[in-house]
Structure formats: C-alpha cells, structure tokens
Amino acid sequence: MSQDKKPSFGFGSKIAAITPDIAPAPPAPPPEADMVAERHGFVARESEQLLKLREPVNAATAQINVRAEVADLNVFLAWCKAERLSYREAFKRIAVAIRKGAV
C-alpha cells in the first residue's frame, strides 16, 4: 500500500463486494437498551442544553453609543420591531447595504 504501488486487486474487489445498506433504517432502539447500558455504567454524560435564541457571533465585536434625533431613532426602532430584528441584526443589515452601495 505505498504511494507508488497499486492496491492489490484481490482486496479491492473484496471491498467492492460490500454495498451500502439500501434497507430502511431499523426502528429506534427500545428504552430498555439505555437501561441495560446504565446498569453497566454506560450513563448519559451530556446534560440537556438550553437552546439559545441568539446565534453566536464568530467575529470580533465592539460597542458604540449613539446620540441621534428622536425621530430618526423612532424610525430605526419601528423598523426593528416590524422586521423582528435585534439591534445587532438591524445594524448588520444596514452595514451590508452600505457595503453593497445600496445607501
């Protein structure tokens, strides 16, 4: 099995004879299977995690404070409410639009 050596035909043909499973998946293991496992010390190690509504951000973040006209802020806040966006998501949309030259 070296880089310059061809794989042996015999082994390759034995592998080729193995096919993916076309049968539907068997039914889910019964709850007794977990109970048996627990008796042998094979217990659940993962605690159920609370789902997070906010997607984590995989980029550096920072914060700015904005003093703006109330009318403008109201336009922004009404838009966030109508679109059901967090301020961060709304700001992201504005930034994307600026990058595209749409504003």
Binding site: Q3, P20, G41, E46
Partner: protein, 226 residues
C-alpha cells in the same frame, strides 16, 4: 452497511488509531467510508484538518441524541461507517453499539485494558438480548510488538480464548508510523518514509488488519442474509 464501532471505555486503548487506520486503508483501496468521531477531544476531526487527500468523510458534530440518526444516515450511502467512540462508559457508546454490525474492542495486552474491554463485552452481550439480534464483536490487540509476543500478551490472549471471547488474528502493532498519522495528519500512504520510520511495514500491518475485518464483515453479512 456495515457499521463498525470501535469501543473500549478505557482511554488510550488505541481506538482512534484503529479507527483511522481502518478507515483510511479501506478508503485507499476504493471503499466509500464515513468515519464518525465521537471522542470529545476530536482527534480524527483534527486529523481531517491536515489536508489529507484520502476520500473519507469525517463527521464529528455528534451527541448522544444524534448518534443513532447520524449512523442511519451514513449507512445508506457509504460502504463502511466506522465509529470512533469515546474512551468512557457513556450513553453515546451504548447507543452506537446498538446500531453496529461489528464492534471492534481495541486493547493493549494489559490487565487494566482487559478489565475495561470486558465491560464493553458484557454490554454488547446484554444489548443483544434487548435487541434480539446478534452484535458481533472482536477484540483487537493494539501496540503489540511485531517481533515477539510478550508472556503477558500470550497469557491474556489464552485467557480471552478460553472465555470464548473472539480475538482478531491481526494485531495493530506498536509502530512510529501509526503515531505519525496524527502528527502529520495524513494517511499512511501519504507519509514521507524519509521522515517516518517503518512506513511500508505499517502499511502492510494496516492492510492485513483491514483485510481481516472486510472478510469478517463479508461472512457476517452472508450469515445475516441467510
């Protein structure tokens, strides 16, 4: 088909090495392989970042709740699904075993490894009764000397055979090339023999082990269909 789980609740028994050697060798000889990395340290997922040209799908984002559907999804499209299980007694391990066509239990020739391997064997046997089907398993000796078997090794092999526990004839020997798979993050065929000692011998060892597993799987499949 087939789903081959590599399990031993003891860490350091050689599970990830066995799974990686088996998966990459089967892929090298043309098999379509998915390797599911269930180890929380994600050694195979880290290996997959190394840029190996091996056509093997590595899946690492699995949990106790998703392991069964993940195996079911992969078994329909791939010739081999190899599951590298974590080195602890967990529900992830037991659930993967319920979905396996073959469980390989790697162990070093030591009493500590043998005791933990026995836990896996006991679990397999009792799950067979719950599921009302046979779950074939084999012990695989790892990190053994390629030259002379130690007295300890001989004694443990004899003890296992006497207890009716099946053992693969081929061992995964102690070889620098197997460790180097994780260092260079490539397959055996991609290792540079100038940098790593004993690559051809490791390749031969890997092929012998894979051939034995494939033959066993073919026999088990025939038996299951009969």
């Amino acid at each position: 088909m087939p789903v081959i789980s590599v399990a031993n609740p003891k860490g350091g028994a050689g599970k990830s090495t066995t799974a990686l050697v088996l998966g990459t060798t089967l892929a090298h000889f043309g098999g379509t392989v998915s390797l599911i990395d269930c180890d929380p340290n994600r050694p195979i997922a880290a290996w997959a970042q190394g840029g190996s040209a091996t056509a093997m799908r590595v899946i690492s984002d699995v949990t106790e709740s998703t392991i069964v559907p993940t195996i079911d999804r992969e078994r329909g499209g791939r010739q081999f699904v190899v599951v590298d299980l974590e080195g602890t007694a967990s529900r992830m391990v037991s659930r993967a075993i319920t979905r396996s066509d073959l469980v390989l239990i790697p162990m070093q020739a030591s009493a500590v490894d043998a005791a933990q391997a026995a836990r896996a064997v006991d679990l397999v046997r009792e799950e067979e009764q719950v599921l009302n089907r046979e779950i074939p398993f084999r012990i695989v000796f790892t990190r053994t000397s390629s030259a002379i078997p130690t007295r300890n090794e001989k004694m443990i092999v004899e003890e296992l055979r006497a207890s009716g526990i099946p053992v693969l004839t081929t061992h995964l020997n102690e070889r620098a090339a197997f460790k180097s798979l994780f260092t260079y993050r490539v397959a055996l065929a991609e290792l540079d023999p100038i940098l790593v000692n004993g690559v051809p011998a490791a390749q031969e060892n890997a092929q012998r082990l894979s051939e034995e597993v494939v033959e066993l799987v073919a026999t088990l499949t025939k038996k299951a269909r009969a």
